[in-house]
Symmetry: D2
Subunit: 290 residues, 4 copies
Amino acid sequence: MESVTQKTSLQELVSREHKKDDTIVSIGNIPLGGPFFTIIAGPCAVESQEQLQSIASSVKMSGAAILRGGAYKPRTSPYSFQGLGHEGLKILKAISTSLGIPTVTEVVDTADLDLVLNYADAVQIGARNMQNFALLKAVGKISKPVILKRGMAARAEDLLLSAEYIFAGGNSQIILCERGIRTFETQTRNTLDLNIIPFLKERSHLPVIVDPSHGTGIRSYVAPLARAAAACGADGIMVEVHCDPQQALSDGPQSLYPAQFAELASSLQQISHIMGKDMVGNLSSSQIFL
Amino acid sequence: MESVTQKTSLQELVSREHKKDDTIVSIGNIPLGGPFFTIIAGPCAVESQEQLQSIASSVKMSGAAILRGGAYKPRTSPYSFQGLGHEGLKILKAISTSLGIPTVTEVVDTADLDLVLNYADAVQIGARNMQNFALLKAVGKISKPVILKRGMAARAEDLLLSAEYIFAGGNSQIILCERGIRTFETQTRNTLDLNIIPFLKERSHLPVIVDPSHGTGIRSYVAPLARAAAACGADGIMVEVHCDPQQALSDGPQSLYPAQFAELASSLQQISHIMGKDMVGNLSSSQIFL
Amino acid sequence: MESVTQKTSLQELVSREHKKDDTIVSIGNIPLGGPFFTIIAGPCAVESQEQLQSIASSVKMSGAAILRGGAYKPRTSPYSFQGLGHEGLKILKAISTSLGIPTVTEVVDTADLDLVLNYADAVQIGARNMQNFALLKAVGKISKPVILKRGMAARAEDLLLSAEYIFAGGNSQIILCERGIRTFETQTRNTLDLNIIPFLKERSHLPVIVDPSHGTGIRSYVAPLARAAAACGADGIMVEVHCDPQQALSDGPQSLYPAQFAELASSLQQISHIMGKDMVGNLSSSQIFL
Amino acid sequence: MESVTQKTSLQELVSREHKKDDTIVSIGNIPLGGPFFTIIAGPCAVESQEQLQSIASSVKMSGAAILRGGAYKPRTSPYSFQGLGHEGLKILKAISTSLGIPTVTEVVDTADLDLVLNYADAVQIGARNMQNFALLKAVGKISKPVILKRGMAARAEDLLLSAEYIFAGGNSQIILCERGIRTFETQTRNTLDLNIIPFLKERSHLPVIVDPSHGTGIRSYVAPLARAAAACGADGIMVEVHCDPQQALSDGPQSLYPAQFAELASSLQQISHIMGKDMVGNLSSSQIFL
């Protein structure tokens, strides 16, 4: 049964009926939700210590509060780069410690979960696994935050029901993430669906972030859509940055250059301010051009 | 043939290759495009002199620069209200003159075009007629601006090719309008696709506006998505406002109350400013809360 | 308003509630609906007297009962072949008379309707004009049959409501035609949606045909999907045939060769028989391999 | 990366370039693919020994060659029936042995795989797990057949690449299954996409079956679409049957009554015959009305 037609009912733990006030989830010491606007940035995949070090230090300086980087990469083709696995996790942890920035990375199988939890501050459930219910049940039992990405064909209600699996399992530290749906439009890799933001904010108390990198798949569209997400009420964005996108092992065409990211972070701070939110992070006052 | 896979070629009149600088289109004395951010507001349908008078004076005072109102309404069912027709056009013209605000209204058939042009400052081609090529050819020969709405199943490239029909006919005063596409998502009436904004701004010199009312179909989502449109680089929005949405003959559930519109216009002015644009219109300084 | 959520109500003229028995519509002397299975075939566009003569005589001999051919072609780009217009209508009529086969051709504007009616036995409303309500109202007043094609983003209910426009205008000779919808799938030009066939047959008394040529856009998929349509309960198919598809001015890649059409017609006769229908036409017994 | 734009390349193990002749996969002693047309039938979920016994004996007598029944049910809501788990597997095995019919059941997590293999003759990867790459890799190492269902947002090419994961892992016993995609159409639960059948048969040597139960979600549409699948070139169907659909714990509205199934099986035998295939199974001659 893939769709449930009735509205989110009163009993649902993720609903505003269950909890009226915004939930604030902390990844490491960084808050998401409520009065905060939070930027998660980093490469699509962890490729090497040097690669992650240079990207992480750059995005941290420019306004990112949390570092992303994939060690297990779900790829459409079995012949594409599948991630560094355990080695990638170690690199992620090392950079996190040296720079003092918390991290999130994707988990793709229940069998890997314990290992991933040893290295990351939060786990991500990717779009392809949004209805991998065994995995949802497993992360429902952990004590670290979960970023749950919307599936490519998931209705807004389906996303909330997948979050409900996690919450019902005992883990209330859930961050919802819009990352684009599949439509007939071929100009963009996906169709980032910002309409879901006011829906999720009305219906649920959980923080909501947006991934404009996967959402559009095109570098020059990332910043406009990230700003749109902030103006629309999102609690943060997750964005891919790479120092040398041409050489990236995964998703180069949608990765921002560090300078583009810095400029984006500045404008997001201004828009967050209009929306009544404070941007979390290290943005120095000299970068603010408001 | 409904799709053309090759990219917009150099010869296309609507492309940036053909004309590098932004085109600024004027409806009456109001500019759209380039450094301007312009708000078009009004009821879905013209219902009576009193209805239009009260909405128009309210939205003009709050920041709308152009008045919208339908006299010919394309409706899915033959048994729904079809608009006041010629009588609606007369009302639109009377209010336009008395308030000094230019107008746009939809034309649905080549046979009505001359009549509509006697009363309105610009014509709108609706989503259902985006590929009514006979109508596109007809408005290609007029000397007033055309707002061309994206069809519910139109790819970004298709919208540009429909604009090309108008331009090739001799009329370069074209404003492109995103208004939501049909996807699997049922939570919203349509899926407003803001990803098309950076695409259109990159590929074409024509002004681009967004209709968040049809795009979402839900009153409480209209303002967030309108702000998102502005943050994303749109040149303006077209939004439905009604003093008594419960009694509206068409599209009440997506119409803003005048007070909601005023608040939205204020925040749009702030976001436009961040985006380097000046909002056109009558917004008094007392309404600005930045 | 593009969607009407309530079910087809009792009052609707196109519904089974209004009329329980199958409606049989005749184009010329050829019936569609009820116990009949009818094949409409011909080129996408009328290109010349010679082209149409050779295709028409071939398809008539192989089992086609009605000839199709476009004189007014709706094309995504203004620079594509737009059809021969009036000249194409004259050719269509001449071939129809000489071969004794009735014809259907598309009408794209209310202004052309009278002219088209002078030459063709039935008119087609194309997918792009399914919600061109001015045109629907106009064909509601004529006394010849109308083939109404489903729009690329039209829900099943929307198609019935567009048919209702025609019926409510006074013309009950309507044939519904599925021709593919727009989905995320890019392998085929459209996604032929056969699920609509049992829906339409349950809910409406009107004949339902399928166009697998536009529905798939790929020659080698046309016959499998045409057979599927017959097995699914359709009352006929409309299919594009061309003697020299490589040189076709429109839609060559989806046109069958005459020999492929003949083989398809034979298998359709067998499947129709299993479905309790008799295929209308000239299929000689030697072609039947059952 | 969710889409790979290049065509299936020569190196792909699932492609016709790699292996020209049809692959025939055997579940127990029952073949799928090549000259055979095979019916898999049974309840959505195993509910009890009595339920499965009565359905299984009925469908076997009417023409089903393989029994389906879910023990682990992926459900959108955590509060829906999740299946009997291990207990369900035991029931499935018991009925299989007593009736002499092979079985297929879904596996939803790598952790359950060994257990499932102890009880079933083939495993199914459901639509929600089509891109659960950890699971695909795991079933790539088993020695029993895998039925791989198309994801709700999977392009045809994506399905082949998921199959490639299994094949590349060492398991070539793969059956592809179309089960409907997500589109804007709300009349049916999914949009069964038969256009993929000729694509898959052209591009791959693997058997292809169709699930019209999930594909439409509506009982009265199941038989028409099942017949369409057969007429389109599918190698078999998988269909849900329940003796008391009103009381079914899952998917009752789309389950056929046993008598409907028997009638469908008869007509499928006729259509298979036209398509040059022999239906596998126990269909007694008295049931054949050809």
